[in-house]
Structure formats: C-alpha cells, structure tokens
C-alpha cells in the first residue's frame, strides 16, 4: 500500500479564512446581493482537488463558522455547505476533466443548490426572500470560477498541498 502523507493543511485553512474575511468585508449596501459566495467557491475547489481531505465535515465546519460570523441562523450555512461538499465529491471525477467553462456550469449548479438551501431555511423561519436578485450571486460565482480555479491551483502547486 502506497502511503502519501498529507501536506499543506495550513494553506487550506488559510484559503478558507481569506474567503470568510471577504464574505464580511464591507461593501456598499447596493452591492450586497452581488457578493459571490466565497466560502462555497473555495470549498468546491478543494473538494475537486483533494476530495479525500476536504469533504462534508470541512464544509459543515466552515458553514458553522460562517453562521457565527454573519450572526445568521446557526446551522444554516453549515447545512448548505455540507450538501455542496457532498454533491461536489459525487461529481468530481467527471467534472475535474472538463474544460474550465464547463466546470463553471457545474459550479453554477452547485452554488444554486447552496442558495436554494438558504432560501428554503429562510422561508421556513418566516423571513421574506429578497426576490430574483437572490440568484445573481451564484451567477457571479460561476463567472469568476476560472479565476478562482487558476489562483487556488497555483497556490496548491506552489505549496505542494496534497
């Protein structure tokens, strides 16, 4: 049995931390709806790249921290992100070999699922949805996926995270 030790856990944690900082960085109020789901994007990348290291539990933990960070309902992002991680790992073998723009389509669907879970939990606790603008964020997330992918890939190779 070939055993390759894990390396670069700090890099993974750092990217998640950066995504969280970007999530709460102040933006003008009119741009709030356009903020892509940074943590979701980072999670999807690591689940594509290292599915045996970053998975459902990492997604759940990141989501829980995000809930505390944004003072939202505890467990809301946790549920959404662990579902995203699960779906990503399920499809990673097919999607990993796609060209970037086709990957972006898959990412769009994953982010839309994330948004759907948030919408669902919000409506269960009786919070009115903001309307169609709610669906802009996944579109923007998918649009910047090639950029995120290249950046994180460079980071992963630079620090030889495996």
């Amino acid at each position: 049995m070939i055993f390759i030790p894990h390396r670069g856990g700090k890099v993974i944690v750092f990217t998640f931390a950066l995504a969280m900082v970007l999530t709460i960085a102040p933006l003008p109020e009119s741009l709030h709806a356009y903020r892509p789901d940074w943590v979701g994007l980072v999670l999807i990348y690591w689940c594509f790249a290292l599915p045996e290291r970053v998975g459902v539990f990492s997604g759940w933990l990141a989501g829980l921290l995000l809930d505390v960070l944004t003072s939202g309902l505890l467990g809301q992002h946790a549920l959404a992100l662990c579902l995203v991680a699960y779906l990503t790992i399920k499809i990673h073998q097919q999607v990993r070999v796609f060209p970037l723009w086709q990957q972006a389509l898959a990412v769009l669907i994953l982010l839309a699922v994330h948004q759907l879970v948030l919408l669902w939990t919000n409506s269960v606790i009786g919070r009115p949805g903001p309307g169609l603008i709610f669906w802009i964020a996944p579109l923007i997330g998918a649009a910047i996926w090639p950029l995120i992918y290249s950046l994180l890939r460079a980071l992963r190779h630079g620090f030889s995270v495996r």
């Binding site: 049995m1 070939i2 390759i4 931390a17 969280m20 900082v21 999530t23 709460i24 960085a25 102040p26 933006l27 109020e29 709030h32 709806a33 903020r35 599915p51 045996e52 998975g55 459902v56 539990f57 759940w60 989501g63 829980l64 921290l65 505390v68 960070l69 944004t70 003072s71 939202g72 309902l73 505890l74 467990g75 809301q76 946790a78 549920l79 662990c82 579902l83 699960y86 790992i89 399920k90 073998q93 939990t121 919000n122 606790i125 919070r127 009115p128 949805g129 903001p130």
Partner: protein, 302 residues
C-alpha cells in the same frame, strides 16, 4: 489488494461512508437551526465561537480603525485647535440648554408631586460603542459593535444614537455584540404619539427609511409630522426616547385600519458611534461598577 495505490483509494473509499456523514451532519444542522430559532440554549456555543472568529472581524475592521487613527495622529495642530474651539462652543451651548432642562425637570417633578404621581428621572448610565465595518447577513438589518459582555452588555439592551432609538442587542459575545435595528422585518417597538399620547407598535419593514404602524383605526388622532416616542411599555426600551416621525397616512374608507408609515429618527445607516443605555430597572447588575467608580472619585477629591 496489497498493491492498492493512492489513485484507487480515492475512487473507492468514499462509498456509503460519505452519504452517512452527510445525513448525520444534515440532521445536526437541522437540530441546531431548530434549537437556535425556537429556544436560546445555544447562546454559550455562539459566544464561544464568536470569540474564535473575533480575529476575522478585527482584521476586516482594520482599515477603518487605522484610517481613523492616522487621521487623528496626523491632524495638524491648527485643525485640532479649530475642532477644540468648536467643541468648546458646542459644549457651552449644551450646558446652557442643560441648565434649562434641569429646571424643567425640577418643575416637572414638582408638578407630578402635586398630581401625586411617581416618576423616576434617574440619570441613565450610558456607554459609547463604535460600529465595526463588518457586513453581516445581507437580508437582515443588523449591525456589529465593538463592545461585548466584558463591558456588561446584555441581550435586549437598547441602542440609541444622537437622534433616537436605533435598535436592541440580540447577540452578545465577549468582545463584540450584534444589534437588530428597528427596521428589521422581525422587529417591533412599542411607541406613543408624542402629541396625543396614542399608544401603538411600530414594525420594521426591511427598508431602512420606513416603519409601519398597523392596526390604527381611521378616526385615530394621528397626523403627518407627529413624533413617535418610546412608550416604555414592553419593558425593554426606556420611555420618552424619539423613535420616528409619521410621514404618510393613507386612509381607505373600505378598510378598518389606516395605513401609516413613519421614518426612523436615528441615522440607522449613517451613525458611526452608538450609545448603549441601561434603563433604570437593569441598573442592579452594574451597580458594583458604579460604586467602585464613585469610590475612586471620592478618593481623588480627598
């Protein structure tokens, strides 16, 4: 089997285990959400985790904090002198007005004593907190302030700015606290029309510049321009603070109630500094602190 490599391991080790993990974590999240939404048992967990994520908030707030620090330390002597002078003038003006207020207060007390009504005009303890430049859940009206339970803040504490009531604290961590603004769709505040004494409730609408007053009959004594103040009936907000001003009254003879909107007095999306107040009922908790302060003052005066 012995030569099974890393690649094969990646393909076959995530079978049912992954799904099982998903199901367990989903159930855990659902439980967390239910408990968090219905009861308040999770506050210790939230407090602990909020201390853990405090560095993130500090980091995000850093540009604002440092720019403020630079502005202060690099300001020229001249501009500081000017600011000082203007503050002096303002202080003098306020002092004069305060004198008038004190005499009015005394008069009010005397009149109330004549009417045999009790009225407590105790000076309220206050604390200034600063807003942190942190974006929270975009679909709620919440703000983050840089004081927490270490400064004796408590859940449900009222928050005001120089113009009026802003909201109340909903989560208090050790170093930071989250406040819900009066315009949050989940917020309601008991108010009173200052002119006529009509009592009602002002509901948040989710729009920053608008509150709604439901269930006011068409013949009620309320006009555009009326000031709404806190009535103090909920026990949460002290009475007599300005909340909002009525800006629109729509009356439809076919409807039982008029549709009334009001505009919050407080600068909800512009204030940088907020005041936390301790209504008199909650003073017991912080009495110890005030006592020690009084002692030190007494010491220095001797």
């Amino acid at each position: 089997m012995l030569t099974r490599g890393n690649a094969i391991k990646q393909i076959f080790t995530q079978g049912p285990a992954l799904t099982v993990r998903l199901v367990i974590l989903s159930l855990l999240s659902l439980t967390l959400m239910t408990v968090d939404h219905r009861y308040h048992h999770l506050n210790p967990l939230r407090e602990g985790l909020s201390a853990l994520v405090y560095p993130f908030k500090l980091l995000v707030d850093l540009p604002r904090a440092t720019s403020g620090w630079f502005k202060e330390s690099l300001a020229s002597r001249h501009s500081l002198q000017e600011e000082n002078a203007s503050l002096h003038t303002k202080q003098l003006m306020l002092q004069t007005q305060l004198q008038k207020l004190e005499s009015l207060e005394a008069e009010n007390l005397r009149l109330r004593a004549l009417l045999d009504a009790s009225f407590d005009v105790g000076k309220q303890q206050m604390l200034i907190a600063e807003l942190m430049a942190v974006d929270l859940d975009p679909y709620r009206h919440q703000i983050q302030i840089n004081k927490g339970s270490l400064d004796n803040l408590y859940e449900g504490q009222p928050l005001v700015d120089s113009k009026g009531i802003m909201g109340q604290l909903v989560q208090v961590g050790p170093f930071t606290a989250t406040a819900m603004l009066i315009t949050d769709p989940g917020h309601a505040i008991p108010v009173q029309v200052n002119r006529s004494g009509l009592r009602t409730i002002a509901l948040g609408t989710g729009t920053t510049e608008r509150l709604e007053l439901p269930h006011i009959p068409n013949n009620a004594d309320i006009r555009v321009g009326d000031l709404l103040t806190t009535s103090g009936l909920g026990g949460r907000f002290p009475s007599g603070y300005p909340v909002a001003e009525v800006i629109k009254i729509e009356q439809d003879p076919g409807q039982d109630f008029s549709f009334i909107t009001a505009k919050p007095r407080a600068l909800l999306n512009r204030s940088r500094e907020v005041l936390l107040i301790w209504p008199t009922e909650n003073r017991l908790a912080i009495e110890a602190d005030t006592l020690t302060e009084d002692n030190t003052q007494a010491d220095t005066s001797q």
